[in-house]
Amino acid sequence: MQAGAIRAIAAAWIRDHYPPASDAPEITADTDLLETGVLDSIGFVELIEFLGIETGHAIDLFELEPEVFSTLAGLSGAFAAAAARR
């Protein structure tokens, strides 16, 4: 699965499970989801579990830099890289 597709399903999951307030800024690929309060740490746990199931791959969180981890671009890139390594 490509990073763009993973990013799309992650964004849809967030809209379903943690819908932003009506006046919240749009979530982009580079929005810091933790800093902006879109997700908290448990939200990330749930999202990563969901992406693991959807992609069939696990990511090594010890390899991720904090700034990579907390954006849709970074997370989807990590899952795409895990898929490519297989």
Binding site: L34, S41, F44, P66
Partner: protein, 272 residues
């Protein structure tokens, strides 16, 4: 008995947990208020407080339940057990024992009333813990469990999570988050109804916002030390400074707000 980092932290910091500052904090005041809601004279059979901490709530209940009532505190943190035994020494009908929700040191069907104040969210296995409660309750037994839910402390979590992420990294941050249960009211109801078929299970939730100054809130920080132990030693001072600054930035005219999300699971006999 346990290598659980939360239990180890509570044991090591037992004196701080029981300090006047912590007891005066929002968590201490909330625990006191919840203890006041316990029934005046819970029914027949053994009365058990699981996660009894330093024994404060058990002492309140023991004062109104003289012999032949029997009360038991169960606490996994050795340091807190010692303090509970000291606090309860004047009650001949109260004992304190090592144990935890997932493996209650009790025979089946022996408990008339089980309660717990702000402890169940620390269980490692919620389903097993609920089954244990079902196992030890006698047929007409009842239980009250108060614990924090999914949306507890959102102001603090939002302000501090980016800081913890920088200092702990993603893996340790998520490990820390997993150390406590984050149940919503519906999930809690499904959990206990599944474990206790045929009994009456109700779940009430409430949000309570407490305002305090930074030092007042810092007094209860000991309660989450187990989750923060994974911060590398060399980064702790910087992390703490940044966290304190972030919390101070939340201050309003009323103080720094912290909102508790409290779930109350009430288990009654069948058909009530």
């Amino acid at each position: 008995m346990s290598e659980d980092p939360v239990v180890l932290a509570y044991s090591r910091r037992a004196a701080d947990y029981d300090s006047p500052e912590n007891l005066a904090s929002c968590w201490g005041r909330n625990a006191l208020e919840l203890a006041s809601r316990l029934p005046a004279g819970p029914g027949r059979g053994l009365i058990v407080d699981v996660g009894c901490g330093a024994g404060g709530a058990l002492a309140q209940l023991a004062a109104r339940c003289p012999p032949p009532a029997r009360l038991l505190g169960i606490e996994p943190a050795a340091g807190l057990r010692e303090r509970a035994r000291a606090a309860l020494a004047g009650f001949p009908n109260v004992a304190v024992r090592d144990g935890r929700f997932e493996a209650l040191p009790l025979d089946a069907g022996t408990v008339g009333y089980l309660f717990s104040i702000m402890a169940f969210h620390w269980v490692a296995d919620a389903a097993r813990s609920a089954r244990e409660i079902a196992r030890v309750l006698r047929a007409g037994g009842e239980a009250d469990l108060f614990f924090v839910g999914r949306w507890n402390g959102r102001e603090f979590i939002r302000a501090t999570s980016p800081i913890f992420l920088r200092h702990m990294g993603p893996a340790r941050l998520l490990e820390a988050a997993r150390l406590r249960q984050h149940l919503e009211a519906g999930e809690a109801h499904a959990l206990f109804e599944s474990a206790l078929p045929g009994r009456t299970v109700t779940v009430e939730e409430e949000y309570r916002t407490y305002h305090d100054d930074l030092d007042g809130h810092w007094a209860w920080w000991v309660r989450i030390e187990g989750q923060l132990m994974r911060i590398p030693e060399e980064r702790r001072v910087a992390c703490e400074e940044q966290v304190r600054a972030a919390l101070q930035a939340l201050a309003t005219a009323d103080g720094i707000p912290y909102t508790l999300h409290i779930l109350h699971v009430r288990i009654g006999p069948a058909g009530r």
